[in-house]
Amino acid sequence: MTGLNDVSHRHDAEVEALSGGPVAKGAPILELRGLHKRYGTVEALRPASITFLSGEIHAIVGENGAGKSTLIKLLTGVIRRTSGDIVWCGQPVPLSDPNEAISRGINAVHQEVVLCPHLTVAANMFLGDEMNRRGLMRKRAMTDAAQAVLNDLGFNLPAGALLSDLTIGQQQLVATARAAMRGTQFLIFDEPTAYLTRQESAQLFRLIRRLQAQGVTIVYISHRMEEVFELADRVSVLRDGTHVGTRLIGETNDAELISMMINRSIEQIYHKETLPIGKPIVETRGLSGPGFQDISLTVRAGEIVGLYGLIGAGRSEFALGLYGREKVTAGEILFEGKTVDIRNERVAMDLGIALAPESRRDQGLCLNLPIGLNINLPVFDRLSSGLTINRKREIANADKQIGDLKIKTPTRRVLASAMSGGNQQKIVIGKWLSHGAKLFIFDEPTVGVDVGTKAEIYRLFSKLLEEGAGIILISSYLPEVYELADTLHVFRQGRLVASHAYRTASHEDVLTQAIGV
């Protein structure tokens, strides 16, 4: 504990001055009274009254667009409320800008790490608040102090390492440590585990509990029910910008929470139809490449093949190899019984392979271009007659996908960056539906996607299978692959280590195989 306190003590005076004295554990630390946010005519958050108790872990669940992000932005001073009061430690506060929130001890850790990748871990932890002596930075002292904090938190991370050398999960831990160091009393986590491995998640949970033990109030936002039940003391549900209710965790269950969120039962989410399995579409024999070795598997028409493993287990790399993005070094690919040489992405597409890649931001979408252009990108050659694109067909094709997939946008000309995670994923899927394929590879299709959209995506899988396609579903979220895959392959360190038919193995077995204890 010493490390943490040493570094944060100089903030304490400041924080207390602003916060109007400490609040007893279990007493209200932050109260929202009729908090309301409207964008134009859109109600982003209808008047909500939620009380956060000092020292609790308070989970917030809700679909995309339910108002969770609005709430975070209001609490961290990024946007201003339309009406209502925020009461912090018994006093109404304006929370009109991010600095005010930080100086009062309110902080957020975001899903995507917003730190400087080219600086060291220590430099990032002290960013904007460096230790100085006569105008010069005390680099050594900062590194030592940062290391002390990291050790204290139980992170096995070198403070002198460059942030970019760490995994996303480790970077998330650094972001959390940074917030913890700054005398934070109220810490908001926005879907922190979306990109984390299990071990990293476990480490993060330990950290969260530790912060709680120190009296920090935690707000935890997640799509994952089991995390909510593992961590939270109380849970609040938002739906369509409305605060539906708050429950003690012991007095509710995931079925109730999900029905509060969406008015839909849990069985309806993992929508699976049993279909006759057809002929093999693709077969790999001993396929090896960068990050994967000796992978042999078959995907048949009407079948979902699930690839489960930890992040970095070689599943995405295998998909990229199969899709022609990475060089395959050994083994062969049979497509509909014939050996094929997939030299590049175009060859894969022409054969009938579609890939919805792992990262929408980095691989899936041209974010600063219109939705319509993104949807049409794989098919512009078909939409062209001669030299020019047929505008009518271009528009019709984009609008059809927007309509079919219910992408929530007024027009196809809106930029992809303006869409929520779920709608962005729909754009990626729309690209491949309009192109058409026999084998669809979905790599983490539901990361950062709300429950409602998830259910839509799973129903879409069934539709594709009915039409005779095969699907490879890559997911780090076990319930998803477990409930959906007809055949479940487990990857570990670039190898295929186990295969199971639908629901023949237990969750524990699959996990053990993936971790390789």
Binding site: K68, V414, S420
Partner: protein, 324 residues
């Protein structure tokens, strides 16, 4: 997640705004013309307008080529040097008895080759566009000076030299060349799939690649178009000044980039048009022309140009942020 609320806030569609911005630039251009017309007697003379169109024409063509490259999130610093080098190339070819049309064809091919070399450096050698085009910027000037032995090659072909002074339908032939370049450029960028690919590559290379776009070919295309436009301008310049000189067109790359940026092109890629850089080029030409007519110190021209770049790009970004 973090942007979900903006979805419902219904961002303004982009296309209408682009047209609006184009109109604002056109308005600025007309405003400058009106202002100069009122404050000088010589601006609205046919002589001066012809002169203005000739001055702006060459930058305009360069800017259109440059815009293709900038849309892919690249940059082409070599265009000024390519102009100079091409003027030497065509002068040398003509001086060595090559007939006019083949000489023009060969010079354009040299442009194609230079652009392909840039793309090769970027795609195969992994060099940043800034570096490879900076390298050819200095090298091409050097090669040109070697060929001419540091002096100039004069062009004796009368018809070639007359071309740039001629008018067609009362409009300088050089300005017609802008139209000859702009119309295919417009079709290419806004109506063909290759134009869409330029935007996609500039927005997210990996996403474009995974969507089946041949990213490498697209980059080759962009740099070849830019260098070919520059070679074409080199031919026009040789015609105008009647010599081939490797040191000509010093700093034109910056003029071209400035025109493009004033015309709304984003240096981060994926934003740009054909009409934008054209307007940008003629706005710059008007400022130069007006400053001359007003007997303004030429140093002031440079200051005004710089200030204008800052103001226009600043407002363009405000507009973009507002429309998100």
């Amino acid at each position: 997640m973090s942007v979900e609320t903006t979805t419902e806030a219904a961002p303004v569609p982009k296309k209408g705004m682009n047209i609006l911005f184009g109109l604002t630039l056109l308005g600025l251009l007309l405003f400058l013309w009106l202002l100069l017309g009122l404050s000088t007697n010589s601006f609205w003379t046919s002589n001066n307008i012809s002169n203005l169109l000739r001055q702006g024409a060459m930058t305009a063509i360069l800017a259109v080529g440059q815009t293709f490259v900038i849309i892919t999130a690249g940059i082409d610093l070599s265009v000024g040097a390519v102009v100079g080098f091409s003027s030497v190339t065509i002068a040398w070819l003509l001086a060595h008895g090559v007939p006019l049309w083949p000489a023009i064809g060969i010079t354009l091919l040299v442009g194609v080759f230079i652009g392909a070399f840039h793309a090769f450096g970027i795609v195969r050698m992994g060099l940043p566009a800034f570096i490879i085009t900076l390298a050819t910027l200095t090298s091409l000037r050097g090669i040109g000076l070697l060929i001419t032995n540091g002096s100039t090659i004069s062009i004796t072909d009368e018809s070639f030299a007359n071309f740039s002074r001629a008018d067609f339908l009362g409009v300088p032939s050089l300005f017609w060349m802008v139209i000859v370049v702009a119309i295919p450029a417009l079709v290419f960028l806004h109506l063909s799939r290759w134009g869409r690919y330029l935007f996609a590559v500039g927005s997210n290379r990996e996403a474009a690649r995974l969507s089946g776009v041949n990213v490498e070919r697209t980059i080759y295309l962009a740099y070849i178009l830019s260098s070919t436009c520059a070679a074409f301008v080199g031919i026009l310049l040789a015609s105008r000044i009647g010599i081939g000189n490797a040191t000509q067109a010093e700093g034109w790359e910056l003029q071209a980039i400035a025109s493009s940026v004033i015309g709304g092109t984003s240096l981060f890629g994926a934003v740009g048009s054909v009409h934008g850089p054209l307007l940008g080029a003629f706005i710059l030409a008007t400022i130069n022309n007006g400053a001359n007519l007003l007997n303004l110190n030429s140093f002031w021209q440079r200051i005004i140009t710089g200030a204008l770049i800052i103001i226009i790009v600043y407002f363009d970004q405000l507009r973009r942020r507002g429309s998100r």
